[in-house]
Structures are given as C-alpha cells and as structure tokens.
C-alpha cells in the first residue's frame, strides 16, 4: 500500500476476534460468517486492486433483522464495520480494515416487486444493476443508469456511489432514478426514506445517502424508477484532426438544444489501442473520435442525426459515419466499451482516473496531461464522457517496475489537481474512497470538510461505519460540535434596518 494511512487497528477488538466471530455466528447462522484467511482472501480488495487488506471477519447477512443486529452489536462494542456490495468500487470504497467486520450484502439478491403502472421496481441491495433491467425488459422497460460494471455491480453499491454511466447526461445519475430506500443505521435503527411517491418528505436524506460511500448507513432495500425503452437508437462516429474541434462540436450539439443519449470522446492513444484490439473500423488518422448516440422515436432520431452531422462538418470533422443497422451501432460502441481492456493490452497495468471538468477546458487539460506524461515518463490514454465533462485518463505503468505505481499515483493526483484548478472536481462517478481521500483538501477547506463530517456525526457519531474512507482526517464528533463564535459583534452597522 503506497503510503496510505488507514485508521489504527483497535487492539481490544483484535484481541476479542474469536468471541466476535462466535457472536456473529449466533446472529447470522449457517454459512453466513467467513473467518478463515484463505476464504476471506476473495474479499481483500475491491475494483481498486492496488490496495488489499484482510478483514477481521466476513459476515453475509440474509435479513434486515440480521443487519440491524450486527450493526447494533458492533456499535455497542465499538467495532468498526465496512459494508460491501459486489466489490466493484474503483476507489477502494469497500477496502476492508484489519479490525472491521466486512458486511457483505450479496445475499440480498431478490427483486421484491415490479409495478408497471407506477414504473417502479423494489429490489434488495445485492441485485445487480443489470438484474433490474433483466427483470423488466420483457415488458419493454429498463433501468437507465448504466455504469460499465453493470453486469456485476449491485444496486445498493450504486446508491452508495451515486453511479453514473454513458447515458446519465440525458437520463440522470442514480440519485435521479432512486425513489426510496430502506436503510439500517449504525445503532441498528431501521429507517425508510421516500417510497414509490416522487418526492421525499422532510430533509433530503435520500439525496445525502446517495453517494455517501457506505459511511452513513447500510442500504437494505431500494425502490427505483424504470423507463420505457426508446423505440430506436442510432449513433454517429465522428473523427476530428484536433481535440479542440471535437470539443467545439460537443458544445455546438448541446447549443443546438440536443441532449444525446450518449456522447463519448476518445483521444489518439485510446483510439489506437481500441482499434488494435477489437477492429471496430475506427479512423486512425484523427486526434479525437466522438461517438454520438441519439435515441427515441425513429422520426426524432433521423431528424437529429441530420442536425448532428451538419454540426460535425461545420467543425471540420474528417470522417463521419452514421450507423445504418443495430449491428453497426454496436460496432461503433465496441471499441469504446473495450477501451479499458484494450489499454490493458498495450501496458502491463493501467490506473483509471475520474475527474470532471467544465467541457470548454478540455484542450487545456489534455495539453496539461501531455506535459505531465513527459514529466513522469508514463503514457496516458483518454476516454471522456464528453457530454458531462467526465474524464477517464488511463495512466499506463508497470507495477513490476519498482516505483512505477507510486509514479502513476502521483501522476493521477496531479491530473486531478489540474481538474480542480480549471473549475472541475476530483471524481465524477467513481467516488472518493481511499483513492482520492487525501486529495479532498484540494477541493474543500477545513470548514467544508468539517460540515460534511458533522453530517456523518448525525448518522454515526462514533465513526464506526467505513472509517478511513472519503475524509483525510476524521475528527471526533464532540470536537466538531464545539462552537467558537465572537459574541456581541454587530457586523455591519451601516446597513438599513427597519
């Protein structure tokens, strides 16, 4: 682990491990408790595989009552808990801690209700993202957010990370597609937020829970909105001599009032890696390749294809292909969808970053990245959710070369600093986790971070749920609660008062 400080294991908990394991077996009988090191190995990391740690014990509850009892037991005894869905986090959100119970929600794998008149599905949190669509597609419906790990990632994990995907510019993120959840607080209390109605009463706790990275509560049920599948989808594959022209084309499409279902950009290294891998027919003489997908009724899609094509030519596109069949549309996407493994073929390892920038800053950020690439002596390939400014630079390195992982991480951190400097953010969809935790002060000052931690205090005052993630330094809730205000100072006496 490259210099990442995690909370110091609690000696008392470590000493009581056998007793805790035995108690867990009482709460979750049967096969639901795993404590042998070789069997826990499968859980030692998530999608951020550079970090590994065996947990204290793995617990796989089956009922909400078991989740509540596990959390209350741990809360009463000051034992840390790390929740985990399918373990596909790219930021280390489900990285175990040596002294923490790893609470794995994969046995919560049932769809509880489908309601077509109200267009909702109620699912247990371990159901995969794609599993929801699978459950309703025979009726022509689907669940819109589609993170690229959708065959594996769980809907509970999607709530924890506020997952996005290729279609979120038009259809929104997880937060815009979840209507309600049931969750268990660290003290064992079960709380329901929202439901099958459209807006939650009171404070928007559902909004705060979505994207809270497993630090506030454990989701035990999710109600999502489903949508009718668009009648058709067609795509354009457009090549540009410069990334500036590609970027301007994206701006002009949006400026024309068009919000495509998907709009993805790749830079030259990513185009070449993808083409070598899947032979999608991508042009190799361009600096930027844009895939624009339009979905809806056929007549609308045809109308918009014409508009987008004209915008592309106005911006100097050197190639523009329009899919004439479903097969051809899928072939346009094949290269983009295979971009990560394709890059994996040209480099022993790659490190995937996730900053978001105002789109107009793309040329500046790409230029900055080229400079950093020279400075660190590591290659970088870029795929870009062009519509919403979410960049995924893939840094190429070799973990077997001593020092290269550190170098790649430093390169990545510099890219994210650059994103923040141009008005962007550290993470668009992968989460902070452990990966970007220590970069949080690049975006937030101590007051900002303290107020976020105070939210944590309302849910989990002892900082037992998923500690060591998101916040660079956890401050005790009692300390955060103190107020320091100057008394009796009338700040601007010259303002009008009535």
């Amino acid at each position: 682990m490259s210099g990442l400080a995690m909370p110091k294991p609690d000696a008392d908990t470590m000493r009581r491990r056998a007793e805790i394991v035995a108690d867990m077996r009482i709460i979750v009988p049967g096969e639901g408790v795993v404590d042998a090191a070789n069997e826990m190995r499968a859980f030692e990391s998530d999608g951020l595989t550079a970090y590994r740690q065996l947990p204290l014990v793995v617990v796989l509850p089956e009922t909400v009552a078991q989740v509540a009892r596990v959390l209350k037991y741990c809360n009463d005894r000051n034992i840390r808990v790390v929740p985990r869905g399918s373990g596909t986090s790219l930021s280390g959100g489900a990285l175990p801690l040596e002294d923490a119970v790893l609470l794995v929600m994969s046995r919560f794998n049932r769809i509880l209700a489908t309601d077509y008149p109200n267009r909702t599905v109620v699912a247990q949190p371990g159901v995969t993202n794609l599993g929801i669509t699978t459950a309703v597609e025979q009726e022509g419906f689907y669940y819109a957010p589609d993170p690229s790990s959708q065959i594996a990632c769980s809907i509970g994990g999607n709530v924890a990370e506020n997952s996005g995907g290729v279609h979120c510019l038009k259809y929104g993120l997880t937060a815009n597609n979840v209507l309600g959840i049931e969750m268990v607080l660290m003290n064992g209390e079960v709380v329901r937020l929202g439901g099958s109605h459209l807006d939650q009463e009171g404070y928007d706790l559902l909004g705060v829970m979505t994207g809270s990275e497993g630090l506030l509560g454990v989701v035990t049920e999710v109600t999502v909105r489903i949508l009718k599948k668009p009648e058709t989808a067609r795509a354009l594959l457009i090549g540009f001599p410069t990334s500036e022209q590609g970027g301007q084309c994206v701006a002009d499409i949006i400026g024309a009032g068009i919000i495509p279902g998907g709009m993805e950009m790749m830079d030259r290294p990513a185009i070449h890696a993808a083409e070598d891998f899947v032979h999608a027919g991508y042009p190799l003489d361009v600096e930027a390749l844009l895939i624009v997908e339009l979905d809806g009724p056929g007549v609308e899609v045809d109308h918009l294809i014409g508009l987008v094509e004209a915008i592309a030519y106005r911006n100097g596109s050197t190639t523009c292909r329009i899919s004439q069949s479903e097969q051809e549309r899928l072939s346009f996407w094949a290269g983009r969808k295979a971009a990560f493994p394709a890059v994996g073929r040209i480099s022993p390892d790659y490190y995937c970053m996730d900053g978001t920038i105002p789109r107009k800053e793309l040329p500046r950020v790409l230029a900055g990245m080229r400079e950093l690439s020279e400075k660190y002596g590591l290659g970088v390939a870029n795929v870009f959710h062009a519509g919403d400014g979410n960049l995924h630079p893939l840094i190429l390195y070799d973990a077997n070369v001593p020092g290269e992982l550190d170098k790649a991480e430093n390169f990545g951190a510099d890219i994210l600093r650059l994103c923040v400097e141009v008005g962007g953010v550290l993470t668009g969809e992968h989460g902070v986790g452990v990966e970007k935790r220590d970069l949080m002060p690049e975006m937030f000052n101590q007051i900002d971070l303290d107020q976020q931690m105070r939210v944590k205090c309302a849910f989990d005052p002892n900082h037992l749920l998923n500690p060591g993630k998101v916040f660079p330094q956890l401050r005790r809730c009692a300390e955060l609660g103190r107020m320091h205000v100057h008394r009796g100072q009338v700040a601007f006496p010259d303002i009008p008062r009535f």
Binding site: D115, Y116, P117, N118, T120, G140, F141, N162, G172, A175, N176, E189, V190, R192, L193, H197, L198, D199, E201, G202, Y203, D204, L205, G207, V208, D252, I259, G296, P297, E300, H303, T356, R359, G389, G423, G424, V425, T427, G428, H430, V432, M440, F444, I447, Q451, V455, C457, A458, V470, M483, V485, H486, R487, G488, Q489, A491, F492, P496, R497, F498
Partner: protein
C-alpha cells in the same frame, strides 16, 4: 425588531455569526412568496436576502448557471429564455395560491422549498438539478458543497440536503444549477370526460408507452374550467404533454392517440395554449381563489392517490385535482377544518406518502404539523442533522416542526 439586509456573502456571514453569538433566532426571507408555508415564526429579527442578488456565472454551452441566492427567479428565467434554455424542473410559483403577487420568489427559495412543476415526472425537482451551493450554517460558518459540473460525487451532497430544508439548516448565499435546452415544440393531448379512476389508468398507460410524455395531469369536472381562463370548458380533462423537436412531437402525439383513442374524446392543444394550461396547473391556479380555506399538497404513488381521495370524500367536503400521473394531489377543503388526522390516516392506509398543509390560517399552522410528521427513528435522525447544522436553533426555528 431588526431586519438585516445583506448585499454580500460576507455580510450574510457576519449577520449569522452575530445571531449565533447572541443565540437570537432569525427568520430567513427572500421575497416572502412562500412565507405562509410552515409553522408561523416568532423571531425578533429577520434576515432579508432579497438584496443578495446577481447571476455570477452563466455558460449556456456548459449547461450551468450560478447566482446569488436572493436573485429573482423571474430574472433568471428571462435570461434562460433568451438563450433557448430553461430549468427543466419547472419551479412553481406559490404566489397566486397564497394570495400574493405572481412572479415573485428567489432562486434560493426555489432550492430551499425544492420546487418543481408538472415536468417533475420526467425531469425531477430542484434537488435533481442543483449542482452546488455556498451557505452559512447556523454555527456561523461559511461552507460550500458540490461544484459547477454536472457529474460530481466528491464528498457528501450537501447541496441536495438544502432542498426542502426551508431555511432551517443554513442560509444559502450562492446556488449553482444545471440548465437544459427548452423544448422546441409542445403539444398537449386532452382526453375529456373521464372519472378519476379511468383518468389514472389512461395516464399510466401513456406514461408506460414510449411516447415520452413529460407531464400528465387530471382535472376533474368543473376544476377544468379553472385553468387557462376557462376557455377549455368545464368537462373533466386528462392532460398529456409531449415536448421536443417538431417531427418527434407529431409522431408521439399520433402514437398516443392510437393508444388512447377508445378512452374518450380527444383534443389537441398546442403552443401557447398548452403552455398556459401547464402554467396554471403548476401554480395550483384552480385553488388560487383569493381565499384562505386549507389547501393540501399530497404526494403518493400515482396509482394509489385517487383511492385515498375517494375515501376522503366520504368524510369531508373537498375539491381535488391531480398532477404527476396522479401522484400529486392538490386538495382544497370546502370548510375551514384542515382534517389533518383524517387525511394523514387515509394516506397511510392507501400505501403511504405525505401531506403538506400549504395554505391555512396562522392558528391552524400553529396548531397542526404543516409538514408530514415522521416516524420516531427518522424524526430522531432529522433532529440530529438539524443540530449539526444549527445547534443553537437560530435559523427559522420551528418552521418545519
């Protein structure tokens, strides 16, 4: 009685710091267009944010707009219209219903009340479009959350937490919203003469089709005459709005006509006439009668709400109409008793949801929970959250209680 009228974030901060040090409560006010919602406040001092104004960033191609919290919504909407854009969540105007002027309200108030409109079905509410905020907590500390980009999961989403907090957690000083292109064309298909249950079934059918209906409302008989100046007559009207590019709207309206041809007589209402209807539904115009009889805003599962209304009619005299495919019910009591217990009991019995007493006399608002009471664990969590933002209870104390 002092009214503080800061014109900068720094002045706002120092006012709240002063109030926090004195432990003296403040009523937060923009234009006061929603002042009549919530438990009446009895604070000695008022923090008037209507001078904290100005659009600070607007980049149409980036789909983003930032403004000081006291900026008039009307001013921002004019700017967006000039650029062919809009707030897709269609924030309603409570002014007419509450006996105030139309066209008032600030952008901070839009977020604090989590406003939305008929397009809520497809586009969400203010909480779905807010990208970032800067605010002053009741601790007297200026904090920020979110950013100016549409995709951002960095840290907790405190911007969403400000939605529907009615000024009880923090004083907003700056807000940043996602903006979207306005639709080129809109057409409304009206099915006439349906009873509530048939209307709800027709709306569910339409929303379950691929016609991308952006709004669906049902105005029962007589209520229909209270929108758009009565020019569409008083027969019940079940309204489906389709928006987008011209050829697509034509195609989708045709698809809806085929789907719903047997439901009842159909009418097409296009352009400005369509807009006028949805504006009136958005602003609850049918009950904006200048009176003060209790009006409820009820949110339930779309297919369940009309059953609740039917049960309520057995025991109380009410007028009702439906938005959001039936899931949003506006209820006007014909007598001065809000019947809060009865209504909330029936909501629970019919699958749950919540009711907000958006219009009522001050004595009713003082005596009854205006906002839906929460179950104990959730209420406890909300109270702890409030304390983490406003430990001295100086921001709109009791408004949501």
């Amino acid at each position: 009685m002092t009214t503080f009228t800061p014109s900068s974030s720094a002045e706002t901060l120092s006012t709240v710091q002063w109030a926090a040090a004195e432990e003296t409560p403040l009523e937060l006010l923009g234009h006061g267009s929603k002042r009549g919602i919530g438990r009446p406040l009895q604070t000695e001092h008022t923090l008037d944010l209507s001078k904290l104004t100005g659009v600070t960033l607007y980049e149409p191609a980036e789909l983003v707009l930032s403004a000081k919290a006291g900026t008039p919504l009307a001013e921002i909407e004019t700017l967006l219209t000039e650029n062919g854009q809009q707030f897709a969540f269609e924030p309603m105007d409570y002014g007419p219903l509450l006996g105030g002027e139309p066209g008032k309200g600030t952008i901070g108030g839009v977020l604090a009340a989590n406003l939305s409109g008929p397009r809520r079905l497809k586009a969400g509410a203010a909480r779905d479009h807010v990208l970032g905020v800067a605010a002053v907590s009741g601790r007297g500390e200026a904090f920020k959350s979110g950013g100016r980009v549409v995709k951002n999961v960095t840290g907790y989403d405190l911007s969403k937490l400000m939605a529907n907090s009615w000024g009880t957690l923090a004083v907003l000083t700056d807000v940043t919203f996602k903006v979207l292109p306005a639709a080129e064309t809109e057409v409304t298909l009206a099915i006439r003469g349906l009873l509530d249950d048939a209307a709800v079934a027709a709306m569910a059918l339409a929303l379950g089709s691929s016609a991308e209906v952006s709004s669906a409302a049902h105005l029962p008989e007589r209520i229909a005459a209270r929108v758009a100046g009565g020019k569409h007559g008083s027969d019940a009207a079940t309204l489906l709005r389709v928006e987008g590019f011209g050829p697509s709207v034509v195609y989708r309206i045709d698809a809806l006509k085929q789907l719903l041809g047997k439901a009842g007589p159909l009418e097409e209402i296009a352009g400005e006439a369509s807009k006028a209807i949805w504006r009136d539904i958005r602003d609850c115009r049918p009950f904006a009668d200048g009176g003060a009889l209790p009006v409820w805003r009820v949110s339930m599962a779309p297919s369940a709400a009309h059953h609740m209304v039917m049960a309520l009619r057995m025991q109380a005299a009410v007028d009702a109409f439906y938005d959001w495919q039936g899931g949003l019910v506006w209820l006007s009591m014909r007598e001065d008793d809000p019947e809060a217990e009865l209504l909330r009991g029936l909501i629970r019995k019919h699958g749950g949801g919540h009711a907000t007493l958006v219009r009522a006399s001050a004595p009713h608002r003082a005596a009854l929970p205006v906002f839906e009471p929460q179950p104990p664990h959730l209420a406890g969590l909300s109270a702890r959250l409030k304390a983490e933002f406003d430990p001295k209870q100086i921001l709109n104390p009791g408004r949501m209680a």
